[in-house]
Symmetry: C2
Subunit: 282 residues, 2 copies
């Protein structure tokens, strides 16, 4: 089941049509979104998600999100959820209807069950491939019109990359830059463990600042780990004690196979970090 609430707090039938064909979100992928994990009735990292929504809005020259309205829509969905203990909460905001700027953005929150595959991946890990993203790490700051690091609705490339992974016998992707820098996954951030230190690349290279990555870092620090935000190279993807993809819904997922090569077992490191992450919400 799904639960749909518009930004004004109205509940609506998620199986009914609500969007006009000339909505710019549909016609141009012109809008922004967030995916929040709700667990035990509580949205995790809602503040960072709303901050990131505001950051994406700013990058796309969309109106600043109405924080209170988003929190209300979030409560509406959570209050009406009758599915499992955990679900994905999508927050979506488009530029609205083409040629009707006065109509304002189209905005809604929707609760969606978590895919079985994602639940399995949390426990079993995933096979990932590295794929060229074709950009250099300085591009995001030079060329803000490319929207690198904005969570826009224009995700066709992210989806195509996952299909390319499937063709290569994997289920996820790590994008790399032209200089061999590690970027991010199509829907996740990359984290590496080496000794008692966690590493992730800086958002300035044109990637999304990770809400779950930040939560994992916070949990790990409380558990005595050090954390570093610094550029990683593709060599770092193999030279480590654990390679992980972090995202709201998949939480911390370990990569067990990279570009077809089985990586050394990182289950113990993963278990410790997964616990540190859960302890943030205990």
């Amino acid at each position: 089941m799904r639960v749909l609430a518009f930004l004004d707090g109205t509940l609506a039938d998620p199986d009914a049509p609500h969007i006009r064909v000339d909505d710019l979100g549909l016609m141009r992928g012109d809008g922004i979104f967030e995916t929040v994990l709700v667990a035990g009735g509580t949205p995790r990292e809602l503040r960072p998600h709303l901050d990131r929504l505001a950051r994406s809005a700013s990058m796309l020259d969309l109106p600043e999100p109405d924080d209170e309205a988003w929190q209300r829509a979030t409560r509406q969905v959570i209050g009406n959820w009758i599915g499992g203990d955990e679900f994905a909460l999508k927050l979506v905001c488009t530029r609205g209807i083409d040629g009707l700027p006065g109509a304002g953005p189209t905005a809604f929150a929707m609760g969606i069950p978590i895919d079985e595959k994602v639940i399995r991946a949390r426990a079993e890990g995933v096979a990932a491939v590295t794929l060229e993203r074709g950009i250099d790490p300085g591009l995001a700051e030079r060329a803000p019109w490319l929207l690198l690091g904005a969570k826009s609705l224009s995700y066709a490339v992210n989806m195509a990359a996952v299909r390319e992974a499937a063709r290569r016998g994997a289920s996820d992707v790590i994008f790399t830059a032209t200089d061999d820098t590690v970027l991010e996954g199509p829907t996740s951030n990359v984290i590496i463990a080496r000794g008692r230190t966690l590493y992730t690349p800086p958002a300035t290279i044109g990637i999304l600042p990770g809400t779950t990555q930040a939560a994992v870092f916070r949990g790990a620090e409380r558990a005595g780990w050090s954390t570093k935000i610094e550029p990683l190279s593709t060599a770092d993807l193999r030279d480590n004690d654990g390679l992980f993809l972090a995202s709201s819904v998949r939480k911390l997922t370990r990569v067990h196979t990279l570009d077809g090569d089985r990586l050394p077992d990182s289950s113990a490191v993963h278990a410790e970090l997964a616990k540190a992450y859960e302890d943030v919400y205990a």
Copy 2:
């Protein structure tokens, strides 16, 4: 006024909602489109548009478009159009509803009036700016998952580039590659006239093959011009007798100002080529 027909030939109210919030076209910009110019009741370059739609579908691993159904929907819209002599016909196809793959793609054709600004630009020309696209010309062939040259619904970057142009006092953009190669506009192809020869870059560098560009070339050849499809550099944008942007709805529009510099007057060349293009349909 607008006219909306779904791919099954059903006419529908364009002001009513028809799309579910969980349509992947909306959630992920995951779909494809074409914009066809209809003039005097005839869709221009419909065959090349449908071929390009099929090419985009293939790049996005979408089902091959049903040619006959698209032609029927096109006829439906044209037959019910009561607006001006010329209008834009959008063909849109999304991957359909998330988690309901059996439901199949969401597909419709919609007639839309042509914006006054576009009509003015055809006559008066436009100011354009060059903007970095951050990719190299070999990337499209190396990395098909980046969907370069597919006309996907993920156009947020194209729209952001046009807003950047507006910030710089212009109304259009010419994207450039990392090696200073000329790519395309966000919604157009670049054509240069030099002497009696027209030039445009090859689609292999990761740009859309232009339906209008091809029609202009056909018309120009009939009028005694030579045409060449070869890489252009940013220097070529100034070293010419006319710089143009071609797209279905704007037809052939001359660029009168580039990066803030007024270019030599190309009105006469433009008039000759615009006539050669119209003569294709005479």
